[in-house]
Structures are given as C-alpha cells and as structure tokens.
Amino acid sequence: MGDFLRVAIAVAAKDLRVERRSKTALVSAMAFAALVLMIFNFARDAAALSREMLGPSALWITFAFSGVIALNRSFALEREHGALDGLLLAPVSRGALFVGKYLANLTFVLTVEAVALPLFVLFFGVDLSGALGGIVVTAILATAGFVAVGTVFAAMTVRTRFAELMLPLLVLPFLLPPVIGGVQVTARLLAGRPMSEIMGWLRILALYDLVFVTLCLLLFPSLMDE
C-alpha cells in the first residue's frame, strides 16, 4: 500500500512540476474559461433570459470544456519521448500510475475551476452568500467523476492521430450526468431552495463518482498492457 501511494504521489508531483514549468496548458485553460463566460454573457438576450437563469449553465459548461482541454495534455507529455514506456517498465502497479495521473488532472481541473468561479461571480453578478460551500462541494464531486473518465480516455486518444478531436467526442456523453447534476444543484443553491431538493442530485453525483472512479482504476491496466 505504501508503495502504491509513493508511486502515485511521485507521478502526480512530476506531472504538476512539468505543468508548472511550461504553464501552457494551465494558462490556455484559464483563458478559455474566461472567454466562455464572457461569451455567454454577450450571447444571451438580456430581456428574455436573466443572468441568474443562464448563470449555472454557463458555469458548468465552462467547467466541462476547460476540463477537457486540461485533460488533453495529460498523456501528451508521456508521448513525447516514449516516457510512458519509462513508467510502464518500472516495477510499479498500473493502478498506481492511474491514481497519480488522476490526482494531477484533478488538481489541474480544480485549479481552473477555482479561477472560473470568481470570474463567474463577477460577470454574472451572482450573490453567493450561503451557496458557496454547496457549490464548491458540488464542483469537487462532479469533477472527481469526469476527471476519472477523462484520464482513461486521454490515455487512449493520445495514441490516435486526432487526439484533440477524439477526446471531446468520446468524453462528452460521460459529462452529461455530472454537468446536469452540477447545473441543477447550482441553480437550486443560488435560488435558496431547500436541501431536500438537492439531495437526489448529490446522491447521483456521488454514485457516479464511486462507480466510475473504481471502474476506471480497474480498467486502466488493460489499456497499458499490450
């Protein structure tokens, strides 16, 4: 168990260090998030659709698409000089490699979301009082799930010619439950609805996380094993 964690943390730390050096993916994802939020504001018909009504959808679409952009780079850096083989050669479990990648991706996407949320508050004039905690928890729950699936798909699509196209195509259906859940909970939290309305969605998100993180952890080795 100790070995497993050691390897996972080493891999995650390495990924984050590489990203800190180059910063390209992080900055692009953040800029993208800001851009999407801006466009949502200008694209709506102010008379028909209030900022409160559009807000949650805009936020979660931003989260989802920035997340996909962030996930693309995850295995691209392993491809460059065959670094992935270097990882697979080592006497470490494939599951530990997955957890390392997953943690790095999760950190990355949550960082982008942490930047997007204040922008959202700013652009959409949203009153977060009382809702912030709930939104943060929901964001973490939803992100934990789709990053797991995204990590697995990123590992697959990096071997294809049009990786940047294949990854969104494959992963988008899997974003439906987290994003639908996220939007529903966020909208209700902002409207001050009672917890009872929200619990159902949170349960779905939690179940999704449990099922897909486990499944992805179990399936990742078969992707790496030839």
Binding site: A10, V18, G82, A83, D85, L87, E226
Partner: protein, 244 residues
C-alpha cells in the same frame, strides 16, 4: 529451434530466457515461437528486417507486453507470475523516456522514486556524475544536445542496477563519437557480468559487442546461436535469407 543450453540442467538459470514466445492477434503473427537464453556476460545481437518482430520481442522481454503463448523467465522464474521482477531489466531505446521540461536531475530523481531507491536525490546525483553531466544537472533536457540526452537516458536506464539490458537501436541517430562512447559503456556493462540483448537492423556497429548473433525474420529465428564466423559471413546469410 531451442537453444541447447536451456534444456541442460544447470546450477544457475539464465538471467533472462524466452521459451516458445508467440505474439499474435487473430490470424496475424508478430512472433512465432522464439527461444532465447541470456547468461551473464553475454551480448545477444538480434538483427532482422523491418517488421520482423524485433521490437515486439524486446517489449515482451521487458514485460511491456504479454505474449500470446510461451514464457519469459527472469532468473528461471516466469515473469507472468512475478511481474515486478522486471526491475532486473533496463531498457534503452532510441527514445529517451525523458521529460523535456524537467532537468536531468529531476528526471533521474523521478526514475529513482519510481524504482523505490532509498535515496532518490543521491542516486540521481551519482547517475549524473557517471554520465559526466553534473554541470548540466539543472538545465532543462530540452536544451541538451542529442548526445547528452542519450547519456542521461543511459544513466536513467542503469539507475536501478539492472542485470539485463535491453537495447532497441541504441546507435540510431548518434554521431560516431557518441556511438563509440555508448559502445564502450555497453562493453563495460557486459564485462561486469550484465546480460545484453541488442536489437538492431544495422549490424555493423553492434557486431564487435556481440557474443551471440541472431537473425529474426517474420517472427522466427533464421539464424541463432553464438557468434561464429565473421561479420561478412553473417551479412551474407542475412542477404540470403532476405532474398530467399
């Protein structure tokens, strides 16, 4: 064609052995029943045309891929039963396995952590010193020359003290000086008792190093066994097999 030494009861099993190794998918076959036995101090040259299955063989020996049938044995025990025994193996390929944005020191330290070495930073420093690159320890790999990158890659492959070295086209793209340096290093490793398997479609540079010479064609040995005869004779056989 099994190597006779594999079937003779010996006190010590070979460092690395392959028994009837096959790799296929559906009806396509990359390897069709390959045997190999590598003892300490041996260097097995595996030559062959493109698509013969050389890289596949190496990946199977390294534990990166699973054979469809047959076994890979490390110290006489099947790799499939103890997959982590692959720590006894080091792979040096024409790709460096390094991260461009990190420094050589960081790359080696990461490798040391992966292999569970007790003092990762120290091991990294030692590796860099033996590669003669201590002064470039903190430059991103991206900024190093090809020859220097190769030296870091070698240091990475040797970091955990593997007893078997697998080499996939190690001389490709190297200038003559670097190639000579790599050859000298490999010879030292061999003399120190490591077992080497060197895959190359370019035979000339590797011939001196080799103690055994094999020719792999369409997934099976066309020539196999200790090196006997000259390079010209081997090349002659090589051409014969290709034309035939």
């Amino acid at each position: 064609m099994s190597s006779p030494r594999l079937s003779t009861p010996l006190a010590e099993p070979p460092l690395l052995a392959a028994a009837a190794l096959t790799r296929r998918f559906g009806s396509a076959r990359a390897l069709a029943g390959v045997d190999l036995a590598v003892w300490p101090g041996e260097c097995h040259l595996v030559a062959g045309p493109n698509g013969a299955g050389k890289s596949t063989l190496l990946r199977l020996l390294a534990g990166l891929a699973r054979p469809s049938s047959g076994t890979v044995l490390l110290d006489g025990r099947p790799l499939a039963e103890q997959p982590f025994a692959r720590r006894a193996v080091g792979l040096l390929s024409h790709q460096s396995h390094l991260y461009d944005d990190l420094t050589p020191a960081e790359n080696l330290e990461f490798a040391a952590r992966l292999y569970g070495l007790p003092d990762p930073a120290g091991a990294a420093r030692a590796g860099l010193a033996s590669a003669g690159l201590s002064d470039r320890a903190d430059d991103a790999v991206r900024r190093l020359s090809r020859g220097m990158v190769q030296r870091v890659a070698i240091a990475r492959a040797l970091l955990h003290g593997p007893r078997v070295l697998l080499l996939d086209e190690p001389f490709t793209g190297l200038d003559p000086q670097s190639a000579t340096r790599v050859a000298a290093l490999l010879e030292t490793q061999r003399a120190q008792g490591r077992g080497l398997v060197l895959v190359s479609h370019e035979v000339h540079e590797s011939w001196k190093l080799a103690t055994h010479a094999h020719l792999l064609v369409r997934g099976a040995w066309a020539v196999t066994g200790p090196k006997n005869g000259t390079l010209d004779e081997f090349l002659h056989r090589y051409r014969e097999v290709l034309d035939g």
